[in-house]
Every structure is written in C-alpha cells, then in structure tokens.
C-alpha cells in the first residue's frame, strides 16, 4: 500500500487515495491534501463540508453520499459541485481523511 508524507507525517493511503487510518488525519493536512486535488485555497465553505464529513464519519462509520450531504450539511448539491468539481463525496472524503463513502448498491 502506498505511503506518502503529508504535513511531516507518514500516511498510508489506499489505491484510490483514501486514508487507511482516518485517525492519522489532522486539520493541518487538509490544505496539502486539497492541493493534490487541485483545490487551492480551502475556503470556509470547503471547511463546512470537510468538518461535516468528518463528524458524520465519526458518528456513523461512513461518510455521507452527495445527496445526503446536500440535505444535511447546509451546502446545496450545486454548490458542493462548485466547491469540489470532480465529485464532492469522494474528493471531500480524501481531503477529510476518511474512507470512500460506502456508496449504494
């Protein structure tokens, strides 16, 4: 499994770039993770989403899908795509250091 240095810490990421150990994540890592996703700078609106993703994950064991985010995070689906154009749920999960949201089947 690939490891990488982020904010001077050795981090283990899976093949799709998600944290293997979400507890390794700190807020200091977010800016660098965001740049890797071509998001620079991280605004307050981004942070609203990232903090929400984190707390949902800690609460429920999986990050929310885009639709659930749009309904509960206070950021509409349209704005979510403006903030994270390449797919809000996945990209925000990578930046927030949580596993890939367990999608639906």
């Amino acid at each position: 499994m690939p490891t990488t240095m982020i904010a001077a810490t050795q981090i283990e990421l899976n093949d799709e770039g998600f944290f293997v150990h979400p507890e390794q994540w700190t807020e200091e890592m977010a800016a660098e993770l965001a740049r890797r996703e071509s998001i620079d700078p991280l605004t307050d609106r981004h942070w609203t989403v990232l903090r929400f993703m984190r707390s949902e994950f800690l609460d429920k064991g999986t990050g929310p899908t885009v639709r659930a985010l749009g309904k509960t995070s206070g950021v509409s689906v349209k704005e979510l795509y403006q903030l994270f154009p390449k797919g809000p749920a996945k990209v925000a999960a990578r930046i927030a250091g949580i596993p890939k949201p367990r999608g639906c089947i």
């Binding site: 885009v66 659930a68 309904k71 509960t72 349209k78 795509y81 154009p85 797919g87 999608g103 089947i105």
Partner: protein, 422 residues
C-alpha cells in the same frame, strides 16, 4: 392480552411478512393489520416489459387484499406519521393505530422534484420513466411511434429499485428497434452516475461488454443536475451535456414521505436505519424493517425482500417472546437480467460476495453471468412464482434465504473476465 403487529405497506415485503406471521401465529391471539394507501398491488418487475408491448399495465396489477390470508386486517389509508415513543401510527383517515410491533414495509418512492426540469416541459412527452404503471404505459405509446433519433436511458443517482432494470431496458430497446427494422436509425445511450455499467466489478465488466456488443454507448460518472425536456438535453453538475430526442429517466429514490414526518424514524433520504443482519430498526426495539424502506447495503429488489422475510418474521417472534434476535440475513440477492432476443442472465450475490460466474443454486443449475434462454424462461416464470409462492410467504424450493456458493467460480480462478466452460 392480544398483541398487535401493524405492518405499514402492503407491497412485496408487507404482504409476505403478514402471510408468514399469520401462519406462525395461527391459533394465537396476535392481531395483524396491514396499512396501504391503495388497493392496487403492482408486480413491479413486469413494468420493464410494458414499454415494449410485452406486458400490459392491467395484467401486472392485482388487488392487495386478495394477496392477504384470512385473519389479516387490511386498512386502506395513507400514513400521516409514526410516533415511535407512543407506539402509534396516525393515518390520513384520522384513525390512530397502537402497536406492540411495527413492521415498516413502505418501500421506496420516486422523487421527481429534486431534479431540476424533470417534471417540467416535455415530461410524459419526450421524457418518461418506466418505474410507474402510468409512465410505462405512456412510454409504450411513445416508442410505438418513434422512428429514429437519440434515445437516452439515465439513472439520476443511486440507490434505485432493481439497479439492473435500466440496463435491461437498454438491452430490450436494442432488441425492440431491431424487430421494428429501425435499429440503424436509433442511437442508444446509457448515462449513469457510476464509474461503470454496474456497481459490482465482475458483473460490471460483463454488462459493460454487452452494452458495447449491442452498440449502446455508455456515459459514466454523469451526475444529472437538470433534465431540459424542451431543449432535449441532460445536463450534469460538472456542466456536461447529453442530447436526446427521447429520454427514459430513473428519478431519485427516497423512503416514503411520512418517514420524514415521523420524528426519529428515518435518515436524510427517509430510509429507516436498520441492522443489516437482524432487520431490527436502530430507532426502536419494536420496529422492524423489510424491503426497500431499509437503509441496509443490499440491492432494493424483490428477491432481497423475499430472503429477508424469513429472518424478520423469526425476529418478530423472538422479540415478542423476549428471546435474543438472530443475525440471519446475509444480504442475499439474485436477479435475472433480461438481455433481449429471448435471453437473460442471472446474478447471485450477498453483502460479502460479488456476483460471480458458475451455476445457481449448485453445479447443475442455471448459468450465472452468462446469457441463456433458460434464464429468460426463469425471468418469465418469476411472475407466477411472485403471486403464488413469494407473496403467500412460501419457501421456494431450491432457493434458500442464504447465498449458495457451491456452483460458483471464485474471482481468482476466473481472472474476473472469462466465462466458465460448460
């Protein structure tokens, strides 16, 4: 004192649970009440065939009450809300039903309003869905007079009922236009939010290959933000566009709206948080959930609902008797996938095992993940099994609730892409 079990929804899950509970508690004083908003039970898998003139709306609808065994009360009314704390259901007709155990079986609903333009200009004229009897009927008329152009089939987002149905629609459309001799004048495109034809890797590869073979274009990772019926285009959140002359859209799904009105019952999409193995809700000990209404990570399919029935009914009995619940449900699903030209393929999977090649239910059986006439006959036969085996709550011979693995070829052995030798 008599115990009362109230079952919300008289569709696939509500009906089979009521009938199984009736048998289990025959001769005891458990009272069973089924609530539904209407008395029209639709055999939903049949909706796929209506647009192509292979089934008619009236043939796939039967009265709900007739599917319920004697001794089960049927109460026809919409549901206003559930009060979990008070163990009460409030109905649109003003009545209030108290319960000892509540079974939520109200399925999934289509939410058109959440997609801009979907229900706007062009709806039921150039933009259709086959997920309702009305939609499937209107689409039949539209297809009959369609003589060429761009047809797109679009899944707005997951989860949806029967996630293979939109693919089956594509395969049947290919066959249908061939039969009419105009296939070369029709461009068929499948537009999905997923990164492949299907959710599970082995099946996705197989189904993606079939789309290519049938000359059906595949557009992936398309998250529909708007359906512009007047302009004839789908628009995604990342500003991509797919033009169409006729669009077949599978709208967003959510749980029933009363779930949202019932404090503490549902999640953000109005599905009910449910333990994936016991089928007890996570919101109250005496609330159980079956079928599409549950937020478990299984397909929203009639076969899943059927396999859940056994565990759910046993756990309702245990709950009433004060015994510990069983972790009985393994996520077992199987579906026939109609592929056109009188063939179908079969997939079988559960929470832990993706659909594999091989045979079902054992080595001598129906071929898995492979087109065959036998599977097509299986699909046709399913309608009769549905009314006469599944709804009455009978165990269907040879088809157990837990997933069989004896006839299957593991991924490592197949290299994930090859089909098995006969």
């Amino acid at each position: 004192m008599a115990k009362r079990v109230v079952i919300l929804g008289g569709g696939t899950g509500g009906t089979l649970v009521a009938n199984r509970l009736r048998r289990l508690f025959s001769g005891t004083d458990v009272e069973l009440v089924v609530v539904d908003q209407n008395d029209r039970h639709v055999y939903q898998p049949g909706l796929l065939f209506v647009p192509f003139g292979l089934a008619h709306s009236e043939d796939i609808v039967r009265p709900r009450q007739r599917q319920l065994h004697d001794g089960i009360k049927f109460h026809e009314s919409g549901i206003e809300r559930v009060e979990i704390g008070a163990n009460e259901v409030h109905l649109h007709d003003g009545s209030v039903l108290g319960y000892d155990v509540l079974v939520v079986a109200t399925g999934a609903s289509l939410i058109l309003e959440e997609t801009e333009g979907l229900a706007g200009p062009g709806w039921m004229d150039k933009v259709f869905t086959f997920y309702t009897p009305e939609g499937a009927g209107a689409l039949e008329a539209a297809l009959a007079t369609f003589d060429g152009g761009r047809v797109v089939v679009n899944v707005v987002d997951m989860p949806i009922k029967c996630p293979v149905a939109p693919l089956e629609f594509c395969f049947l459309a290919d066959w249908y236009f061939h039969e009419r001799g105009i296939r070369d004048r029709v461009e068929l495109t499948y537009v999905t939010p997923l990164d492949g034809a299907f959710t599970k890797p082995v099946a996705s590869k197989q189904l993606g290959g079939m789309l290519a073979d049938k000359n059906i274009e595949l557009v992936t990772e398309f998250n529909t933000s708007e359906v512009d019926g007047a302009g004839g285009r789908l628009i995604s959140y990342d500003q991509r566009e797919v033009p169409f002359d006729l669009a077949v859209v599978i709208p967003l799904h959510g749980g029933a709206s009363y779930v949202g009105r019932s404090i503490g019952l549902g999640d953000a999409l109005n599905f009910v948080p449910t333990d994936e193995h016991t089928l007890q809700s996570k919101v109250a000990d005496n609330v159980f959930v079956i079928g599409d209404a549950a937020n478990v990570p299984a397909s929203k399919a009639g076969s899943v609902t059927h396999f859940e029935g056994e565990t759910l009914v046993e756990n309702v009995r245990r709950h009433l008797a004060g015994e510990p619940l069983i972790d009985g449900f393994d996520g077992h699903a199987n579906c026939f996938i109609e592929t056109g030209f009188h063939k179908a393929l079969l997939i079988d999977f559960n929470y832990d095992t993706e659909p594999l090649t091989g045979h079902y239910p054992g080595r001598v059986g129906l071929p898995l993940l492979k087109q065959s006439r036998l599977n097509h006959l299986g699909k046709l036969l399913f309608q009769s099994v549905y009314w006469h085996g599944l709804l009455p709550g009978r165990d269907i011979p040879g088809i157990g609730a837990t997933m069989p693995s004896s006839g299957k070829i593991p991924v490592a052995a197949t290299g994930a892409t090859t089909t098995p030798k006969e």
